[in-house]
């Protein structure tokens, strides 16, 4: 791993009696896209807001670009960019005015018109903020976050609440930034987002970081079961399917069965033999690799959206 540009060690945050963060530790290398994946209330936003210098940690050590966010003042803010969970601007401000205004705050800044072009907002140059759609507002928020060419970009749930098409547009933009080797820390509760965009992912739950690594590492470090979804011509016996070679778990659903296997080829051979022996036929078969959602369920016993 390259030199760490973000260092978080044993970070804690308490709001009254609520412990939002309970000793979170991770590092992000320069040029890396690092994701904090977890359900709502896991502590993702608290972590990112502490790193942005918006909140004071209760304990622990935090360093970004060699500076402590809260003590770095304006010199620190010159180095970072961010999209908050819900960015809001005055309703009557025009798109170009917002970019011009924020550009004026920084010693080094990009041309607002170039940013408008890059984020597909040129046509909305003189539109009022209140006239923008949700996706356009989020693209403007991203443009504003990049106006100072930040060394580190913080994106707090950048696609939350957006429709799938707009979400994909935002993914494309973040992928472009990834190709440019921009250091990005993003939080999300979308599995697809974490798998698609992040070089490394940390899974956060109840204020604790419970696993971290590349999406591939996380998935392979899980129990190693592969999901086999199958349909049979006639109903099958679940207990019989459970007893097949390599099968760890089997559940029956409406018209299909989900089998978790440690040894997929052996399970499939055993399955075919079992169906022949019971005069049954295979109507459909789908083999899926474990997703980060499966990893999350395995680690916490809950689904991400629970």
């Amino acid at each position: 791993m390259n030199t760490a540009i973000i260092e978080v060690h044993n970070l804690t945050k308490r709001y009254g009696n609520v412990e939002a963060l309970r000793g979170v530790t991770f590092e992000v290398a320069e040029g890396e896209v690092f994701g904090l994946l977890g359900p709502n209330g896991a502590g993702k936003t608290s972590t990112i807001e502490i790193l942005e210098g918006l909140r004071q940690p209760t304990g622990g050590i935090v360093s970004v670009c060699g500076m402590q966010p809260l003590l770095g003042g304006n010199a620190y803010k010159q180095l970072i960019g961010g999209v908050l969970q819900s960015t809001s601007l005055p309703e009557k401000i025009r798109v170009i005015e917002a970019l011009d205004l924020f550009a004026s705050f920084y010693q080094k800044h990009r041309s607002p018109d170039d940013l408008l072009k890059r984020f597909g907002l040129t046509e909305k140059r003189t539109a009022l903020y209140s006239q923008l759609s949700g996706g356009q507002k989020q693209r403007l928020a991203l443009a504003m976050a990049l106006v100072n060419e930040p060394r580190v970009l913080f994106l707090d749930e950048p696609t939350a609440g957006l429709d799938p098409q707009v979400r994909r547009e935002i993914y494309t933009i973040i992928e472009e930034l990834k190709r440019e080797k921009k250091t990005i820390l993003l939080t999300t509760h979308y599995i697809e987002e974490a798998e698609r965009l992040c070089d490394r992912v940390a899974i956060v739950d109840a204020g604790k970081l419970i696993a971290q690594g590349t999406p591939r590492e996380l998935k392979s470090a899980s129990a190693g079961t592969t999901r086999i979804e199958l349909r049979t011509a006639q109903p099958s016996d679940v207990s019989a399917l459970k007893s097949l070679e390599g099968v760890a778990e089997c559940r029956a659903f409406d018209g299909f069965y989900v089998v978790h296997s440690h040894a997929v080829p052996k399970t499939i051979v055993a399955l075919v033999k079992h169906l022949e022996a019971t005069n049954n036929e295979l109507a459909g078969l789908e083999i899926a690799n474990p997703s980060l959602e499966d990893v999350f369920i395995e680690l916490t016993g809950r689904r991400l959206r629970d």
């Binding site: 960019g81 961010g82 908050l84 809001s88 005055p90 009557k92 401000i93 705050f105 504003m144």
Partner: protein, 297 residues
């Protein structure tokens, strides 16, 4: 300073796009001017100065509404949080509010002056330099008071509640809507401790008696001190985030911006002649009215 200038320009553009601003800053004071002239002037052209001084004072005092509501709205909507991510300090945010408010209030005041001159035949401009000084200090002080109110309230509803309480006290007890000399003695004594009184009386002194700014020492000192204390305190207790709640201690500190008026009020009550001057000004206008009507009798 660049941030303050950029924010000031942005604030001015935003306010000018707001129809409520046009109504409250231009249309409402003009409507009040027309009604007040009809009620109080009654053929005595000299009284136009008196009425205009009241309308100008109301315009100045009204700035506290816009300043407090806008800041609270920006905080409630999460707009301030986005600014906090940028290298912008609380001082620049607050100072830009006051400057933008000042730059937009001065033209409305000019329009009121010109309107009073052309339509109601304002006899005398008064001491224009004095008017400028009192208006400037008044707008700054009331702007800063608006910021203090925004700093200690957590929602628009709470802000409106406090604004209304302050506004009604200013409206009826500071001589802005009814001449102070005609009020009962105890009301006059209360008025001595209100910031609005020093704007109303200051404007009356410079517009009617053409008093020099130097003779308005207590008025000027109280307005400057209040403006500075309120600005400093609102900067100290500034909150960017709607989730940040203000402590009781900070609320108590906020009240301290009224100390200059308590001191000046106490001084005026014991040794000053502000009430006497207000009576003299009003009597001079009444005499002027009698002289105007004398040949006709």
């Amino acid at each position: 300073m660049n941030n303050t200038i950029a924010l000031t320009m942005s604030r001015m553009r935003l306010v000018m796009r707001n129809r409520a601003f046009l109504f409250f800053s231009l249309i409402m004071p003009m409507a009040y001017l027309i009604i007040a002239v009809e009620v109080f002037v009654r053929g005595n052209a000299a009284m136009v100065s008196y009425v205009l001084a009241s309308v100008l004072a109301l315009t100045v005092m009204g700035t506290l509404w816009g300043m407090s509501l806008q800041l609270v709205m920006f905080r409630e909507q999460g707009i301030l949080r986005r600014f906090r991510l940028a290298p912008v300090g609380a001082g620049a945010m607050l100072l830009s509010s006051i400057l933008a408010n000042y730059m937009l209030t001065i033209p409305t005041v000019l329009i009121q002056f010109i309107f009073a001159r052309w339509v109601f035949h304002l006899k005398d401009w008064g001491n224009l330099w004095g008017v400028f000084v009192i208006l400037t200090l008044g707008i700054a002080a009331f702007g800063a008071l608006g910021l203090i109110i925004a700093s200690v309230t957590n929602s628009m509803q709470e802000t409106q509640l406090i604004n209304n309480a302050v506004w009604f006290a200013l409206l009826f007890l500071s001589g802005a809507t009814a001449p102070l000399p005609i009020m009962p003695g105890w009301v006059q004594n209360i008025a001595l401790f209100l910031p609005g009184t020093y704007v109303v009386m200051g404007l009356e002194r410079v517009m009617i008696s053409k008093a020099s700014v130097w003779t308005l020492g207590p008025h000027v000192i109280a307005l400057v001190a209040c403006g500075l204390i309120a600005f400093f305190l609102s900067k100290q207790i500034f909150r960017w985030d709607p989730d940040d709640k203000i402590s009781r201690k900070a609320k108590l500190w906020a009240v301290s911006c009224l100390i200059p008026f308590l001191l000046v009020g106490g001084y005026e009550w014991k040794f000053g002649n502000l009430k006497h001057e207000a009576t003299v000004d009003l009597q001079s206008l009444e005499r002027s009215a009698m002289q105007d009507h004398a040949p006709q009798q």
